[in-house]
Amino acid sequence: MVIMGSNMAECHPVAFRWPMKAKLNGAKIIHIDPRFTRTSAVADLHVPIRAGADIAFLGGLINHVLNSERWNRDPFFREYVSNYTNAATLINEEYRDTEDLAGRFSGLADYVESPMWAYNAFVGEYATGSWQYDRGDGQAGPARGTQGQMAAGRPAPTAQTGETPEGRRAGAAGATGGFDTDYDALVRSLRTPPARTDPTLQDPRCVFQIVKRHFARYTPEMVEQVCGSPKAKFLKVAELLLENSGRERTSAFAYAVAWTQHTNGVQIISCAALLQLLLGNIGRPGGGIMALRGHAAIQGSTDIPTLYHSIHGYMSHPSALKEHETLEQYVRAETSPTGYWANLPKFMVSYLKSMYGAAATRENQFGYDWHPKIVGDHSHMAMFAAMADGRVRGMFCIGQNPATSLNASLERAGLRRLEWLVVKDNWLTETATYWHSAPEVKDGTVNIEDIKTEVFFFPSTQVAEYEGSFTNTQRMLQWHFMAAKAPGECRTDTWFYYNLGKRLKRAYTNSMLPRDQGWKNVLWDFEPDPGTEPPYPGEPDALKILREINGYYTDRPTEHLPGFAALEHDGSTTCASWIYCGCYPAPDQNLTAARNPDPPGQSGAHLGWGYAWPANRRVLYNRVSADADGNPWSERKRWVWWDGTKWVGHDVPDFAVTKPPGAPANPAAIGLDALAGTDAFIMKGDGKGWLFVPTGLVDGPLPTHYEPAESPVRNPLYPEQQSSPVLKYWRNDRNRLAEVGDPRYPHVITTYRLTEHYLSGAMSRWLPWLTELQPELFIEIGTALAQEKGIANLDRVRITTPRAEIHAKALVTNRIGVLDIAGKRIHHVGMPWHWGWMGLSTGDVVNTLTAFVGDPNVSIHEGKAFTCNVEKA
């Protein structure tokens, strides 16, 4: 098991029980990290690496694997890759790789901000047409399936429709059309010719050859230069992985936010996926790439999203910038005609029925016009950049503490421009008190009288004080019950939003404005049944919310949907989130509350414990745990197999249950019928695991090492392309970046969490039992740096970036230190970011050091790798 981009023992100590159990059973744990942490302490091998160099390391592994004797000798690898990945697929002739263009892919263009919303912040953008499969029609394919970032700067001419009564009437009259759409015919019309392939994997334009060329320069020597990881240790990792992959064995990767919080975080994960596909470690027991999510329900918050760019079940959020004017257009733009996503019209219509209930009809496109549309990047940094410009009037802040968040002085500048702010939390957080206790107010830089924001504080319940579901990192929903009643007027988040929604509906009752029709028609009834006593006055019935999520037959609301296969696009089914459909299949069967583990000693999937979406599958794409003929790869790794008539096994098969392994693809069909018996990756249009990613990513079809936005060195791999050519950077006086190799900021710094505290400390710095365990903010520095700078253990030091200066105590240790990067001695330092000015344990806000730079795919910030200076204070 490789843990990389994660400090699992410290940040996921409860889940870390299982790697330790595996270790007792003989598994080896490898930890690749800039620091020697509590995870490294129990790992079999710790490999130091510079923060932000992960793709160089993983790319090195890919290159090593492809050229290794073992990979080329054991037929397993070739068989897995040929059958289950897109290795054989040919890519367009126009495609040019980073190898051809000195670190860039074909299609790069300047980015022009949208006049509607100037906060998308791309420094460049790719036209992705040349990255598409060669379908033999001589045309670069459409860039279908991207999350809309490509079009972000291209406002649709009719985006304003619906904002005036006239516009709305036009819509209601059916001018937008589509209510009589035959969705099956529509989806069929989207079919394109199948991609050309070369099963021998020899064609220079096939994915396999492109991948080989792309990673050829990632040699062990280059890995050492870029990452600072000793070559011998790198090779040891490669050998262990190769030894432990194949028919009989599988290796797993685990990562967390130290892979995501980069300007190329998505590509780091994509790189691991590529490596794991090459090694045959996807879709098999003991394999995979485990995303360790941040807290108990963060997975749920992307499934039923608090994300701006998607709606329930990972459908794209309707956008004013895409061809999303009507429901038909939305379906046309978002549906893949082949693979399981061909069912998107059913998911979408059932979702709209859950939004607007009886008001959603075929005639009004199931209320599609009422649904809000996005106009650009509305993620955290974009919104705060806009807020700092006075473009945001009010904010509900629940479960977040932005006053201590990224480039925190910029975020607080945003907070100061708000007219109103609602904070709902367990304690008075920094965000609730920024207007009287933030450093800039305390030191007089900002005058308290000049802050006009009206701040409302709502006391919140703790999780044990109400019932509901968690969705954990394994996509598993687990119901939790109320253990104690909250004190005073503390209320749940569901209480807050439910009652807010009821008030808004009341407020809009008499509005004739088109934009308010959504609120008027939204289905909003989770009232407890008469005679039942809610735990708090006005608390909605949590099980009714779960029913809404699971779905029911529209005209028989007490009849729950058994699973997403039952969904229809005619409005007869209502389902908020198709991926959760089946978790509550009958009023007396809340499967999320099931607690039936398998008996000890069985290699089962514990299907009776909770409910994992989709369809209670525990290992995704598990068809590939059997070979092309449907037989288990080995007895030891038996998981799902073909018994002659159907797919069976320990898990719920992630495949059409009666489709034989030898079934050919049907070029005339749509959905799963279009895929062959070996097309195991059923959510992909071609049924293949993607080594090369033609659609869905905006920053390249293959992972490439770019330096972080702030780096002490020139990119050793591509000297002409320093950092991602399409990363996001929000220009602002408060958001300056250090130049490459700036001697004023010579050290690489990373930020992280400790077991003893939680996130910004909003929940932990108030608890004496926790604060005594980690009472003060510190910076971990190596002994060499301490000697150079004359810093002794526990000395007060000053840490500076172009954005801020903060102070902390030094913790001098050999668990972190000097790395040799591209011929330079680079000191690596690190800081936990749990502190702020409220609570029992207080300290400077580490996030004031970080910058508003982000990943172009998902807009996450780069808090894991930047540069700083450290001096004795």
Binding site: F16, R17, R38, T39, E756, W769, E772, N814, R815, S841
Partner: protein, 284 residues
């Protein structure tokens, strides 16, 4: 925060099989869940209300076992050079010695041996004389200022009396702390040592598991991979009475020597101050 009274032992207490802890330090991840679970169950206050300073000794900020810290996780950094070494993590607790020095010296009989063969201080019978604190060769016991008595781990007597596992082992995510009958634990621990030896960890051994060893064996014993002293454990813990005469002589001699050294030290410090003052003057 009031300490709950410890349960009064039933008069007809039936002796069960000896129970205790086996702590496998090789799977400890230093999460300190044991420390928090112990405090939570036993309602022990944080030091200074939780407003304290970091120690600078790795991630150890509670530093020791005492009257309000009945579990303590040690962080031992062994790194000769940067990125090169190991980090030993160990959750420490009362050893519940089979021949317990604290029990032997307690003048009021407040310290008793329970039916589980564990050692418990009954707060209501403790007069706070601190003899046990001095007698414990492991430095486990300390005064609890809230209760005004000497306190230490009870091996969750109140929990195990009703068939529950102690709070610390219950909370331990990796089963570094295991609770059970001593015979079971010894067997498990021995197997683990053999497994580690087979995997090339030849330094692994059990500390305190030998009934013929010091203090008749410890009902809380450890799997270690370095010398006992590295973990702050005595190599050969003794009952205080064994050395009563010897230690009396030694302590008298020691006191004399200490006074002598102290005088030398004072003189040395004064000399340094004088030379510093001179240096400062000459700099001007």
């Amino acid at each position: 925060m009031d300490h709950p009274p410890l349960p009064i032992l039933p008069q007809t207490a039936v002796t069960t099989e000896p129970m205790g802890f086996y702590t496998d330090t090789t799977v400890c991840i230093g999460c300190k869940a044991c420390e928090v679970a112990c405090k939570s169950w036993n309602l022990l206050p944080a030091a200074d209300g939780g407003v304290t300073e970091m120690s600078g000794d790795s991630y150890d900020n509670t530093r020791q076992l005492d009257g309000t810290h009945w579990r303590h996780v040690k962080f031992i950094e062994q790194f000769p050079t940067e990125y090169n070494g190991r980090w030993l993590l160990m959750s420490d607790v009362c050893k519940h010695c089979v021949q317990a020095p604290c029990l032997e010296v307690c003048p009021t009989g407040a310290i008793i041996r329970t039916e589980f063969d564990t050692v418990v201080i009954q707060s209501d019978a403790c007069n706070g004389c601190r003899a046990c604190i001095a007698a414990c060769p492991f430095g486990v016991i300390g005064m609890n200022d809230v209760a005004g008595t000497a306190q230490k781990c009870t091996l969750c007597y109140d929990r195990i009396s009703v068939g529950l596992e102690p709070a610390c082992s219950k909370a331990c995510p990796t089963d570094s702390i295991q609770f059970g009958t001593i015979s079971d634990l010894r067997e498990r621990a021995q197997q683990r040592v053999e497994q580690l030896h087979a995997n090339g960890v030849n330094d692994a051994y059990l500390y305190g598991a030998d009934p013929n060893g010091p203090l008749g064996g410890l009902n809380s014993f450890y799997l270690l991979v370095d010398e006992p002293e590295v973990y702050g454990l005595p190599r050969n813990p003794q009952l205080p009475t064994r050395n009563l005469m010897e230690s009396a002589v030694l302590s008298t001699a020691g006191a004399v020597a200490a006074v002598g050294l102290g005088l030398v030290g004072l003189r040395k410090r004064r000399m340094d101050e004088i030379s510093d003052e001179r240096g400062a003057t000459s700099d001007e």
